[in-house]
Amino acid sequence: MAHDHAHDHGHGEAAHGKPKTTLYLITAVVLTIITAVEVWIFFIPAIKESAAFIPILLVLSAIKFAAVVMLYMHLKFDSKLFTQLFVGPLIIAGGTMIALLALFGQLSK
């Protein structure tokens, strides 16, 4: 049966819930700080030339990615089906990327 709805049932923050403005603003500050740290370590030769540089950047980037997806795209509060629709292809994309990099010898550099 078809209905016109503003929200789906799986949405954790219904129209009557309180705005999450504070959470979103705190997230924005955290995202800004992480971006600043990423760029800061890029300009620090001691860190940039160390083996930890790339893993640190990847972890920071993953934190930003997860924060936006979970909070701004509200996957954290939403139906698990949406998470599956997103994470499934993401795993395929990531796996393909790693496989291609390994195949072309970029991971061993």
Partner: protein, 212 residues
């Protein structure tokens, strides 16, 4: 018009998440292509190192400008914040607004406009970057770096452009009749698309610009 499916979820939202999933694979392939060809260009300009052409003696500087790109990445990140505030404002349009800040954060036109301006600002940064690269000798045909870089960032820029147009249509509707809680689902779709464009740039910024 949205419909409930047997899952109890908005059909449009299921479709958009499925689309975003397919976009993950599209951008995954574009980023993979860039990374696979990284460091394999036979001629410059290169992303992080200067290069002197042995035939002409002309020197090409390292092409990527991290401070400029940091500014553009920050602009796009902040546009996501503005977008989520616009969505909240639409969803809570009829809530009582007592304080000054309630009125500011409850103004969907303001936050949609900010998102559009920041999105357009990002496109401005990208246009500036592409133009500067072209004048420094990097074109789509110049080398593997140029081909894979312009393809990846160009595709992303096209997505941002589409997002800006989508948001402009929402702002026009908001100005014309006002967006309210019944429109929150529609705004949510645009917001999801916009945030996805942002997370793609989070990855591009790290993998293309920061990692040498």
């Amino acid at each position: 018009m949205s419909h409930y499916t047997t899952t109890g979820l908005d059909n449009r939202k299921i479709a958009l998440w499925t689309f975003i999933g397919s976009e993950c694979m599209l951008f995954g392939s574009l980023i993979s292509t860039y990374l696979v060809y990284k460091g394999r260009s036979l001629v410059g300009p290169f992303p992080h190192q200067p290069w002197t052409d042995p035939a002409t003696g002309q020197t090409y500087p390292a092409i990527l400008d991290i401070p400029i790109t940091t500014a553009s990445a920050f602009v796009l990140l902040m546009s996501s914040v503005a977008m989520v505030l616009a969505y909240e404002a639409v969803k809570h349009r009829h809530d009582p607004k007592v304080t000054f800040w309630d009125k500011v954060f409850g103004n969907s036109k303001l936050w949609l406009s900010v998102t559009i301006i920041l999105g357009a600002g990002f496109l401005g940064f990208q246009s500036f970057e592409f133009t500067a690269f072209y004048h420094e000798g990097l074109t789509l045909q110049r080398n593997l770096f140029g081909s894979s870089f312009f393809l990846l960032t160009g595709f992303h820029g096209a997505h941002v452009t589409l997002g800006v147009l989508w948001l402009m249509s929402l702002l026009a509707t908001d100005i014309k009749r006002g967006l309210g809680p019944k429109d929150a689902g529609t705004v949510d779709l645009a917001a999801l698309y916009w945030h996805f464009v942002d997370v793609v740039w989070i990855l591009i910024f790290t993998l293309v610009y920061l990692i040498e």
